[in-house]
C-alpha cells in the first residue's frame, strides 16, 4: 500500500510511476518486498528492481539477517525505521542513511505498529523527489478512501511527523553478513515433482520438521505476558492461538516465544484479561 501511495504521489507531480509487491509466504509478519519506479517518461520494463536508488526498511530486525544494501547504488540512500541515529546503525558499507522511529510514531498516532505511512513521510524528506504535500494528498486518497477520512488524516499526520523527525547522515560500514544460504537444486538434484520428506541441504533442513529449527518468533513487535494469578486455565487462548504455540502447564497458559508472532489474539480472547500485550524490547 505504501509503495503504491508513493507512486500515486509521484504521478500527482506529473511523473509516470509503477509500483508492485512481491510476497513470499502469504501470511502476516512474513517478509515482503515492494518496488517502485518513477520516471518522467512511460516505464515499460516489468522486472523487479535489482539496483535501487533508495532502499526503505520498515522492520529493523531485517538488518541483522539481510544485507539490505545489496544492489544499492554507490550514491544511493537507505531509509530505516529505527530509534537509532544513522551513525549508530552498522551495515555492510558506509552509505547515506536516514532514520526515524516510525514504530513509536505509528503507535502514538495510529495506535498500531503499522509503519508504512510514517515511512512515506520519511522517504519524501530523505529523497526530496516527491513533496510532503503530495504524499499527504496521496495518503488521503488511498487510505482515506478505504478506511474513512479520520483514518486517512491520522496516517497523513503520522507521515508528517516522520517527515519532521527524520535524521539524515551516514551509517557505519563493515558489518559482515554471512549470506543466507539458499537451497537451489538443479534439475538433477530436485526430487521428482518437488516432493520431499525431511531433506538436509546446504541451507539447512528443508521440508518435514524444518520449522523445528526455523524460529518465527523474531517477527514479533508485541509480546504477550500471561498473569498466572489471573489465569483460570480455561484454554481459550490455547484454542484460538493460530500458531499452536500455547501449552497448559499446571492449568496455566504458557507461551512458546520461539514461535509466538505476537498477534495478540490470545489477549483478545482471554475472558479474564490475564494476558496483556507489551512492546517487544530486543
Amino acid at each position: 500500500m505504501a509503495a503504491q501511495t508513493y507512486a500515486l504521489a509521484a504521478v500527482m507531480e506529473d511523473n509516470y510511476a509503477v509500483s508492485f509487491p512481491f510476497f513470499g509466504a502469504e501470511r502476516r509478519g512474513a517478509p515482503v518486498m515492494a518496488f517502485t519506479r518513477v520516471d518522467k517518461d512511460v516505464i515499460r520494463i516489468k522486472t523487479q528492481i535489482y539496483e535501487p536508488d533508495y532502499v526503505v526498511v520498515l522492520d529493523e530486525t531485517l538488518l541483522e539477517t539481510v544485507d539490505v544494501l545489496k544492489g544499492l547504488k554507490e550514491d544511493g540512500m537507505v531509509v530505516i525505521n529505527t530509534a537509532r541515529r544513522p551513525d549508530e546503525v552498522q551495515l555492510s558499507r558506509e552509505v547515506n542513511c536516514a532514520t526515524v522511529d516510525a514504530t513509536s510514531i505509528s503507535l502514538e498516532l495510529l495506535g498500531r505498529p503499522i509503519t508504512n505511512t510514517s515511512m512515506l513521510g520519511a522517504l519524501a524528506r530523505a529523497t526530496g523527489e516527491v513533496s510532503m504535500e503530495s504524499i499527504e494528498r496521496a495518503i488521503m486518497e488511498k487510505f482515506g478512501g478505504k478506511l474513512g477520512t479520520e483514518a486517512g488524516e491520522k496516517n497523513a499526520r503520522a507521515a508528517r511527523k516522520a517527515y519532521q523527525d527524520l535524521q539524515v547522515g551516514m551509517c557505519r560500514g563493515g558489518k559482515d553478513f554471512v549470506p543466507r544460504k539458499e537451497w537451489l537444486p538443479t534439475v538433477q538434484e530436485m526430487p521428482l515433482g518437488g516432493s520431499i520428506g525431511a531433506l538436509e541441504t546446504e541451507a539447512g533442513l528443508v521440508g518435514i520438521g524444518s520449522f523445528v529449527r526455523n524460529k518465527t518468533g523474531d517477527w514479533r513487535t508485541f509480546i504477550p505476558h500471561v498473569d498466572h494469578d489471573k489465569c483460570i486455565g480455561c484454554r481459550m487462548c490455547w484454542f484460538y492461538c493460530p500458531e499452536g504455540c500455547i501449552t497448559m502447564e499446571d492449568q496455566k497458559a504458557v507461551i512458546d516465544f520461539d514461535y509466538c508472532k505476537g498477534c495478540g489474539i490470545c489477549a483478545q480472547e482471554c475472558p479474564v484479561d490475564a494476558i496483556s500485550m507489551e512492546r517487544e524490547r530486543r
Binding site: 507512486a7 509516470y16 510511476a17 509500483s19 508492485f20 516505464i43 520494463i45 516489468k46
Partner: protein
Amino acid sequence: MVVTGDYSAAYGALICDVDVVAAYPITPQTFIVEDFSEFVADGLTDAEFVKVESEHSAMSACIAAQAAGARTFTATASQGLALMHEMLFVAAALHLPIVMPVVNRTLAAPIGIWCEYNDTMPERDTGWLQVYCETNQEVLDMVIQSYKIGEHRDVMLPVMPSMDAFILSHTVEPVHAPSTDEVADFLPRYQPQAILDTSNPMTIGSFAPPEYIQEIRYQSEVTMQKAREVIQQVNDDFAQTFGRDYHGLIEEYRTDDADVVLITMGTVTGTAREVVDDMRREGKKVGLVKLRFFRPFPLQELRRVAENVEAMGVYDRAMSFGSGGPAFIETRHALYGLDIPVVNFLAGLGGRDVVKEDVRLMFEKTLKAAKEGRAENETVWIGTRGVKP
C-alpha cells in the same frame, strides 16, 4: 487513476455497464471480485452480483445470465479456470459473448501464486477468444474491446483478456479511463441473438446426435475466423475514439529492417522493448512482435513478418510437454514452408522474474541461428538450474 491490473479489469466492467457478475475469488484475481463488489455496494452500478460457491458455478451462472440477454462479466485464475473448464465449452458453443479476464497464475502442483500461462493455454481449444495484455491500460481497454468484439453479430463468442499474475494484477500504474457515457457511445447495448424468455420459450444446449453437431462446430470455426476482421475494426474504431492503438492481432516493434524478431506475450514484451532499443543502439538489427491474440491465432500476420527476417525466436511462458511451447508450436504452423530457423525459449515459469539479460540471450541465440541458418537447439530453457541454455 493509478491502479492495479485487477482494478483496471473491474473498472472496465463497470464502465461497460455490465448487468450480471458471477465470480468466485482466487489469488491473484481476488481484487477484481472485491473491487467490483465495492462498486455494487457503493451504488455505482445496478449490476446483479451473484455470489457462488465455485468457479464452475460462476461460469454456469454467467452462461444462464448471458443466455437471458444480460451483459455478463466474471474473472478467474489458475485452478479456478481449470475448474470452469467444461463450462467454457458450453459458453463458446452457445455463442454467449461473456467477457472474463483471467489472471495468469501457475497451475499446481506445486502450489504457486505467480505467473505462468499453463492455466490459459489448455483453454485455447474451448472456442473462446484469447488476448494477452502488457499493461494495465491494455487490460482496461481490452475489457471494453472484448465486449465489442464478442458481441459483434458475426462473432458472438466469449472473450478471455488475460494479464500476468502480480506483474500486472497487483502492480499500480497510471491508467486513463473513459467515462461510462463515452463507452456507451462506443459500445452499443448488447443485442442477443436468442434469449431465454418464459413468454417465448426456447431450448439451448440440448441433446444433439451426430447428424447435427458437425454443422454447429463449423459455425464455431466460421465465427472465430470472422473475429479476425472484427478485432481489427474494433481496434481501429477504438484508436480513433480513445486515441490508443494496439494494432490488432499482433503489434510489431522495430521490425521494419530487422534481421531477426522475437515473439513475446504479456508483460515480458515491455522488458523486451527496452532490450530491442539497447541492442539497436549497438547496431544489432533486432525487432519484436507482441503476440496479442492467441485465439484467433495471427497466422497470416506472423507469416508476413517472417517473410522479411532471417530467423525468429518465440518466447513461451508455458510448455506443452512432449511437444513445445504453445506459441512456438502455433508460430511454426503459421510459418510452414518458409525456410527460416525458429527457436523456442522457455523462461519465467512459475513466476520467475524474466530480466533484460534473459531477453538479450533470446535475441543472441536467434541472431546466431540466423547467421548459421539453423538453430543449434530448437528448444532453449533459460535460467533453469542444471540445464545449459
